[in-house]
Structures are given as C-alpha cells and as structure tokens.
C-alpha cells in the first residue's frame, strides 16, 4: 500500500462533532473463515471459539467470535468513523449473548458525550452489535480522543 492511497484518510475535527451524531452501521458475516482468522490473528486457542462440539456441550448455540474480535471491531468502527488520528482511550463492553458461526453482526452507534478532560478532546461513543438471533447481543462504551483543534 502506498502512502498516496492513504492521504485520503482524514480525521474529523472535534469542534464539528455533536452529541447524537450517528456512527453509521457496518455488517460483518461470521463465517468459518472469519472464525479461523479470529483464532490466528488473536492467538486465542480456547476451544469454545473453534470446536463446535465443545461449544454446544458448554451451553453455546455454536462456536462464536472471541473477546479480541470485539475489541478489534469496536476499535475499527470508532476510527473508521473518526479517522486515523483518533486514539481509543477506553473500551468497556458486556456480552449478553454470543455472535456465532452463521450469524451476521450488524452495528449501530452514536456519540453520547463530548467533553474536555486533562487537556484532551474526548468523545464517549456507544456501539451495539446485533445478530439475527439476538438484538444488542454486545454493547460497548468507548472513549475516543481526537487531536487538538487549531484556533
């Protein structure tokens, strides 16, 4: 990838953002390939994420994406929206239900708070992931720091 191609990436100006702004939506199908890349990329060999028999025996509908998949996805949604110079400061999420093989994850998210703290331009974001079986299976709260704005 050349840097020329990357010059299209712009970071949002903190001054222009309002509480309630919409983060848009992404759709992510969970295929066997997704789950294999998930294991390889996050180094998590726990069988509940790749052994269907083990997952079912332990109360899950099927094998499902792991914690680090969510970390990766929430971080991506935040910086895809805000731009490459946004920096994730905090990430908290709760898993009500799993996103399993064959599900398609759909995200929705918005800005819940805009504030300055310790000389940083901060935004609090809320992102919900749903699938065909469960609405809001995973809910995340993020704090994103944007670059200082010029006067």
């Amino acid at each position: 990838m050349s840097s020329d191609a990357a010059t299209n990436f712009k970071t949002l100006n903190w001054d222009d953002i309002k509480v309630g702004d919409d983060l848009g939506s992404i759709s992510f199908p969970i295929t066997l390939r997704t789950l294999m890349i998930n294991v390889a990329g996050t180094r998590d060999l726990y069988p509940i994420h790749h052994d269907r028999e083990f997952a079912r025996k332990n109360g899950a509908r099927d094998i499902f994406v792991n914690t680090m998949f969510y970390e990766g996805l929430f971080g991506r949604i935040a910086t895809d929206w805000a731009g490459p110079e946004a920096f994730l400061r905090k990430l908290r999420f709760a898993m009500k239900g799993p996103n399993c093989l064959g599900d398609t994850i759909t995200s929705r998210g918005w800005i819940v708070k805009k504030y300055r703290q310790d000389d940083q331009n901060l935004l609090d974001l809320e992102i919900h992931l749903s699938n065909e079986v469960e609405q809001d299976a995973t809910i995340a709260n993020l704090t994103l720091e944007l670059p200082q704005t010029e006067l």
Partner: protein
C-alpha cells in the same frame, strides 16, 4: 449431593488470601511487531493506515506505526509453542524481573484462584465483561510487553444461563519493555462455570 456446604469451602472464601495482591510480572515472548499488528487488523478488517503504512504514520501525531490500542490483550496472549531452551531462558528473565520489581517473591493470585475454580468443577470460562484503559500508544520499537495482574473480587456461586459458576474479577497492568512505560490497564470479569449445572460434590 452431600450436605449444605460451609462457606469456608466456597471459591470466594478460599480466594480471600489472594485478593488485591499483585502477582509477579510476566513478559511476552515476542516484541511488538508489524506482522503481529497486521494479523490482528485482519481479524476485524481494520484498514486504519496508522497501523499499516509507515510513511503515513510518520506524518501523524503518533510519529510512527502504532499497534491498535485494542490489540493489547491479544498481544499478550501465551504463545502456541516455544522450544524448551527458550522457555527456560524466559522463565529466568521473568524471575529476574520479579526480584527487581518486588521486595518479596509474589504468587500469581490469578493462577491460584482459577485453580480453586477448577477444583470446584468450574472449569469452563467465558468473558462476562471487560474494561480497558489505553494510557499511551505502543508499537514496534517498544520491545516486548510486560504485565502483572491481581484478583480484585470473587462472587458467590450463582446460577446463570449456561450453568452454575462464579464471577472472578481481575485487574491487569501493561508496560513496555523499552522504557517501562505504562500503556494500559484492564479489568476483566470472567465467568468460571460448570456447564452441566451441578454444584460442587
């Protein structure tokens, strides 16, 4: 099933000596690398150029390629296989770290408490919630990552959707090998459970 258990036998009670005590530092086997970053980015298809493109990243406020902050947990996962000679070397290094940072040899409360869970039949684990604070960017050039953890809370036994178990809360702090910079802090609530729903025998 036997008589009603005394509370002295509960995971919560047995875990008490380990609550709020830092375990020893441990260090990842490998330094933070561009390859590890790219493999993490492939998972959720994250195309942020500060993780991928040196020239672009050098012109940003980060001044270099950085790892996605949210990859911190993944970057500290145990390797899949290590030759014996290297295991020996890294356990010696870890022991040395511990002597430098702690006045007394610390015990890993996390390993001990998870062991107590296993003894109670709560052998399956699932992350109930996680909260991470990313204190500073990290990336290639920072060397390996150092971390230490402590157990902060163990719940009473509970019946949950997937079975019977306990919620174990732990805090972990993360530092860079180069410069010993504090880069993150996490709070993990792990459900340790027994999938067939039966209680301790």
């Amino acid at each position: 099933m036997g008589p009603v258990e005394t509370t002295a036998n509960s995971v919560r009670e047995l875990a008490q000596p380990f609550i709020n005590r830092w375990g020893p530092f441990s260090m990842t086997r490998d330094a933070v690398s561009e390859t590890a970053i790219r493999r993490f980015c492939e998972v959720a298809e994250d195309g942020n150029p500060v993780y991928w493109d040196k020239e672009f990243a050098e012109r940003t406020r980060f001044g270099r390629v950085i790892a996605p902050p949210q990859s911190l947990f993944s970057m500290t996962f145990a390797p899949w296989w290590t030759p014996d000679f290297l295991k020996k070397k890294s356990s010696d290094e870890t022991a040395a770290l511990d002597t430098v940072e702690n006045t007394e040899k610390s015990v890993s409360g996390v390993i001990r408490v998870y062991g107590i869970c296993d003894d109670h039949g709560f052998t399956v684990n699932t992350v109930a919630s996680q909260e991470v604070e990313y204190i500073a960017p990290f990336g290639p050039g920072d060397g390996r990552l150092k971390m230490r953890s402590m157990i902060t809370e163990v719940s009473e036994e509970k019946q949950v959707r997937v079975g019977r178990g306990v919620f174990v809360t732990s805090t972990t702090e993360y530092r860079t090998e180069t410069g010993n910079r504090l880069i993150g802090r996490s709070i993990l609530v792990l459900l340790r459970y027994n999938a067939d729903g039966s209680t301790n025998k």
